[in-house]
Symmetry: C2
Subunit: 239 residues, 2 copies
């Protein structure tokens, strides 16, 4: 093994070359990546080898390929990890509870400066704003305040949410491509204490979440759950 040089397969060399061009900025998001035929000629490879390189870059979300058109540099995503948290309704169902929810607020309103910044909106834009309290057999287990970008779910306000939960509706019209979470333990304010019917010193889990859909910030949510009544569960597998 002394002095030996790592040998890379040809398709790996092609991949590295394209990745290098992307990372160096030579190829920018939405730029056209050389076609399979061009790459094959460039690297003295067969088209299949270039195909494999581009195919794997697709799987790694570095490029997007469109049949008949070409391959293009993918738009960067916030990060490349996955956090899966079950919907509250599903979680309650899974431990044998009975889920119900109460919509406290559901309206369109002007964005505040803070929300505009978090959701990449202009200050004159409006958003959909909802506050929902989730219960298990009548006991409040979660306060959920959500701001929804009207561009990704224009019909949100006209849903009646009898047959489908707001979360499931949103997942249908605006599938989550990416999300960012901040989890904290907090003592929540009096208003939320009232909604959740908890004592002032009861520690609560606060989950602030931004989701992206179609390369837009789709939702910004603040989710508060009393520690004594709710445990957040997550699972993961590294790729």
């Amino acid at each position: 093994m002394v002095g030996s040089e790592q040998v890379f397969a040809l398709y790996e060399k092609i991949k590295k070359s394209v990745v290098k061009d992307i990372d160096s900025g030579k190829l920018k998001p939405d730029d056209k990546v050389p076609s399979e035929t061009q790459l094959a000629k460039l690297f003295n490879a067969s088209r299949m080898t270039a195909n494999r390189a581009l195919k794997e870059l697709t799987e790694e979300s570095r490029i997007v390929r469109i049949q008949g058109v070409g391959s293009f540099v993918a738009r960067p995503k916030p990060d490349a990890a996955l956090l899966e948290i079950k919907s509250i309704a599903k979680e309650i169902a899974d431990w044998g509870g009975v889920h119900s929810s109460q919509i406290l607020i559901l309206k369109e309103e002007k964005v505040t400066e803070q929300i505009a910044q978090k959701m990449n909106l202009n200050i004159e834009d409006t958003i959909f704003h909802s506050i929902i309290v989730h219960k298990d057999r009548g006991i409040c287990v979660q306060y959920s305040e959500r701001f929804i970008n009207p561009k990704v779910a224009p019909d949100y306000l006209s849903q009646n949410f009898k047959k489908i939960t707001p979360s499931d509706y949103l997942l249908g019209v605006a599938p989550i491509q990416a999300a960012e979470h901040i989890i904290e333990a907090v003592n929540c304010n009096k208003e939320i204490q009232k909604y959740l019917k908890i004592q002032p010193d009861e520690p609560c889990l606060s989950l602030k979440r931004r989701t992206w859909s179609f390369d837009r910030v789709a939702t910004y949510s603040i989710i508060i759950s009393p520690g004594s009544r709710y445990k957040l569960k997550g699972k993961f597998i590294r790729g």
Copy 2:
């Protein structure tokens, strides 16, 4: 589109066939999957097509392939989602803090019944047990109690952890394949209050984590952070 039947590519048919055999129980974990040559003959396909099918099944973690030996049904993992949480040291560094840690306990001991159950160990087995307090500029931000399966990191106790953190050492010798998390908001007990130097009513984030490596439970950790001093951040992208 009326009455049209979905046409599947040949490599997809091969994939589906193998997946069906796995899901139906006809092929069990560690069983040998037919070789590329056999599948090619079976489906009247070329070896390259069978190769593509098995290659994609590898990427989907349904099978494991060993060059020169064959393809085998993968052992099932806890779940198929990914939660990435930065190491505390990295997170502190990222917001410009200065990380230090203090090892309170680091020893081998007999497992308790509870830990044995959580880590799939026998009651006569021993484990490595560590308690570490992480600080930022001398202020405690995290209490971390960890139980390590000696089988995945037999040299853990003989490390001095001057140049490498325990987490990074573990990641090196026992890469995480999967993990399970339970996140709660809690009021922590007096002992931990003392370690973290916090008030009794200070809400804390509790993170209980099991990690798997090489198909074994590698670690079980209880991580406690005061809410006022620590925010857990997670990011995700759906595949």
